[in-house]
Symmetry: C2
Subunit: 665 residues, 2 copies
Amino acid sequence: MTKVNPDLQRERQKCTFDVEEMTVLYDGGEEKTAQRRSRASVMVSNVNYYNGVPEYYLGSKEKHEESIRKSVIIFGLVRKMQQEGRTKVTDFRHVLQCLLGSAVTYDGTSMVLHYLMVMPAIISQGTEEQQAYWLPRAWNGTFIGSFAQTELGHGTFIRGLETTATYDPGTQEFVLHSPTLTSTKWWAGGLGNTANYAIVVAQLYTKGKCHGVHAFIVQIRDEETHHPLPGIKVGDVGGKLGLEAVNNGFLVLDHVRIPRNHMLMKHAQVLEDGTYVKSSDSKLIYATMLFMRVVIVFDMVNYLSKAVTIATRYSAVRRQTPVRQDGPELQVLDYLTQQNKLLITISTCYCIKIISEIHWDTYDEINEEVANGKLDRLPELHALVCCLKAIVTSDTAHCVERCRLACGGYGYMLSSFLPSLYGQVTAACIYEGENTVMLLQTARFLLKTWQRIDSHTLPPTVAYLKMASTEGFTKWEKSATGIIRGLQVVAMRKISACAAAMEKRVSSGMSIEDAWNLSSVQLVAAAEAHGRVVLATYFYEGATRVIAKASSSAGVVLRQLLELYLVYWALQSLVDLLKYTNISGRDAEELQAWYEELLVQLRPNAVGLVDAFDIRDEMLHSTLGSYDGRVYERLMEEALKCPLNKEADYSAFHKYLKPYMQGKL
Amino acid sequence: MTKVNPDLQRERQKCTFDVEEMTVLYDGGEEKTAQRRSRASVMVSNVNYYNGVPEYYLGSKEKHEESIRKSVIIFGLVRKMQQEGRTKVTDFRHVLQCLLGSAVTYDGTSMVLHYLMVMPAIISQGTEEQQAYWLPRAWNGTFIGSFAQTELGHGTFIRGLETTATYDPGTQEFVLHSPTLTSTKWWAGGLGNTANYAIVVAQLYTKGKCHGVHAFIVQIRDEETHHPLPGIKVGDVGGKLGLEAVNNGFLVLDHVRIPRNHMLMKHAQVLEDGTYVKSSDSKLIYATMLFMRVVIVFDMVNYLSKAVTIATRYSAVRRQTPVRQDGPELQVLDYLTQQNKLLITISTCYCIKIISEIHWDTYDEINEEVANGKLDRLPELHALVCCLKAIVTSDTAHCVERCRLACGGYGYMLSSFLPSLYGQVTAACIYEGENTVMLLQTARFLLKTWQRIDSHTLPPTVAYLKMASTEGFTKWEKSATGIIRGLQVVAMRKISACAAAMEKRVSSGMSIEDAWNLSSVQLVAAAEAHGRVVLATYFYEGATRVIAKASSSAGVVLRQLLELYLVYWALQSLVDLLKYTNISGRDAEELQAWYEELLVQLRPNAVGLVDAFDIRDEMLHSTLGSYDGRVYERLMEEALKCPLNKEADYSAFHKYLKPYMQGKL
């Protein structure tokens, strides 16, 4: 057995709770822990993923081939699971999550959209007949699909998409066409060189009339040769900051014909003669479209828990600078400034883990109502999904980057895995809805809610607005619930201030649209304040339930994590608390002291808390973060794998350097 | 001539000032503009740098060769400049800066340390004889040097370095040795496969006694064959987030012997018999070591001005979502939320440009005093250099990343150049002194200053502390000087609060070291507050001088930029202003309104202001940011350069995908 770094060993001895218990609490029960471990072990131990040279040294073509080689292994396992009957959405969610995915493919996979967008689209938008035809083929991987919606010129504004699908009743076909450069489909994952089919979102024209965007299944490559079919120009969009293996593609269609029944027709049909029939509420599609944004929130903690595991273990191993002349050098983790960077991230992991389960359940519940025709909570769901997506992804990106910087220079090395993690999470701030746009959508709902606050019963997630506005704010209270109440008042007051600002602008003669734009910085802030209330409330409620099940030693620490999170966000919201509640300067100082006390209390359990995430070394993929703490050894071993070091290749020297040194160049 | 995007054209027509005048004001005079343009044109137009395939698609070996090919071209030009007699430090500073460097080599160069650290070290630490020997060779590039100080186990804490240099009087040689794994030299730029000499920093042992760290010139590779010399293990440290071309290396020395006169002996000598003689104050070295940190501040604006040029032009070209049903889609730049992201960054560019000139002059002045034996302003200089390095690099990284995110998905594409810019600036938050450590060093000086505030005349950059503490704060004033005064009071009060907290902890029996650590979050914040005062003051003073020279149309806009910057930072400091000054809630709201007014005022000049940075397309290196605004065309052209698209290569399909789809894998 490998020797564990003695500093890490000591950290583990110091831990005041049972790590296995914490793992089970974190996972949500023994069964879930067992399932997760079994999945991980199937994924990791059955196959040899590593091919000798770390992928980041390869050229783009070799990288692509490597990623396809691995994707096929992973999705072979997924197919096996399906054949064994484990085909619930949650099963796939777990398998496909980055916790496994990114560990094995390092930087995403080009086949994930097939499962996460193509199949859900067929299920939600295809007729029963279409589902019966396409779904078994999709499960089997008989074809690999991509989902092509965004275009060069349009992402956020779907109505502005330019690709056309024109029905030709003569041949009973749709003619798919890209009329302009900006109508080029762009970004679709796997579309570059992997997928041979794509769901293409296009403006439907029939009988000379446009009926808005609809989805069409388009074969793009020959199944035998993989050559693009006639009229199709397809390829990779080119180098990206991260997620290189995702193989995002572009697609240009030149009058490409597809059979009529390749339009997904659950909610609208084009009949043989070209008659357009709308058969159900388009809002039904809408609820399904929110699915990805909920999955993203769920997914973030997998990246974040990796980042903070790496940074925390490294900070326990790394020693730098004695505090006393000639004393021993301190573990970096002993510096309060380092605790300040890492402990809030650990507590954010516990928060996101807990809130994303609640968020998932809320989504499930409302989605089921919607499927049964009860649509009244749909606007609430939409507002909730938008702001949690925005806040959780941006908090995660911020925290991952803080972890990376907390590892000093080594966080800059790819072998730490931290740059790759950042590349993956920062992408989530943009895809499936850019975060500023997301927050503005939530703000729109909040303002509408505010306007009807006196006359309506408010939906659960905004019910606090009424309470906060009618009861007013009496007294600042230094407690978890006191902070939540303070945050509620802040959100309420920020929303009401937005409403007032809008009203003032409109009554001075400005158009609603211009007033909205001029208020938008404020509106974004109000939506964020609302999101903070939801996060704080969900975390408080969820953690309280977990603590009730925990031993006292684990419960104490979970409580500290909860409090750290709440106090941290209270401090971040201090300007607003000072403005909108009766918190005093002294109260604020007490909050800061409370925060620092919590850092000191949590410090001895830092390593235990990240150990409890129970992330296997093979998935952590990091020279800095492995369980045994062999940081320096691994850094050296990884450096030696660099192709520049493997063989003595002096061609650059002889070609350029030497002539230069000799004055010949 | 290429057609300019009509939206960009319109932006330029709207501009209220003369762009050429603004460029000259920004550069600091017509002569400087002319020089900069002539350097740029030499660098860019004489050589064909581009080799067909964008570098980021290459494997590590090809990338290395490409970067050496280009470096040799650049440094050939540098050598030519030197031969023409232009060898002042400022000349080289300009040439080597990223403005040129990163444009041509894309991601740094492995030879820059030779000029920026090796040559300055020889000048500042070598005897006249040593300089006479080594400098001409260094200028000519007869050898290429690297500077090897940091080790695997030690970066910040230089006294902890483990590499030894033991003098052997028998052969009159030093024996350089790496006694442990953690003593492996790590990070040195160009050390990997480029340099054939290195300045190695090691613990000097002679006559059985250690005399601390000194610098030694060590030949590491054969000049003819480039093979590492006996006893030397050297190579590249491996993949990094960015700056890949810098070829950072590791170095392990196994009893490597060098002649006695390869120790740099200006300030300390080892005589032939091994006697150690210290001849001058070690603080003299210290002032020179600050050089790099000053250069870094100077350098940041070159990255930042590129990032914001790219993001601003893109935001003028990009249209998304009509505000009115069926109205035209808005330029993204018209959204207040986008202005909120970009305009502060434009004003930060003008700020950094102006303050870094003042900073450079201050450094020059004090450095000259030090060289003449007058050391009393050295601690002030050190504190100043540390906090400006930390704040300017972290602000720059933050702003570059905000620009990247403001470009939505396209900011994630390498062809935007934004990921590369972020990779370069985030590195500066760590190298040459990690930012948190830097701020703590400033805090140490501030606390010492505070303790002597009554009895001493304070040095210029902290003189405001006395004024702010004795005069107190009477009345908040909504003006540029009012804000600066408010920030001064904040810094003063934060420093005094730190002093009080330290005193309280120490008087309760805590050691000074523990008290320091427990106060360190607060200390970092105090040092940052001080840095904000310096930045605001320098910018105010510098901008006022520039405005005095400007036409009224340019002056008005410069004044808006100055005010935007000050108001922004007042709003960021609002908690402290509320806590420490008598600013009221209404004042705070007025500040916010002022900020938003400034956004609206500056909006029409956004493109003009980035045009005034006058960055050539070849240096901007971006699909999104070029002068003509052909954004979508360039995105498509760049995508087609991806090797995955160039030839029809279906090997990954036939090897893996097809067998998988057919159920054989």
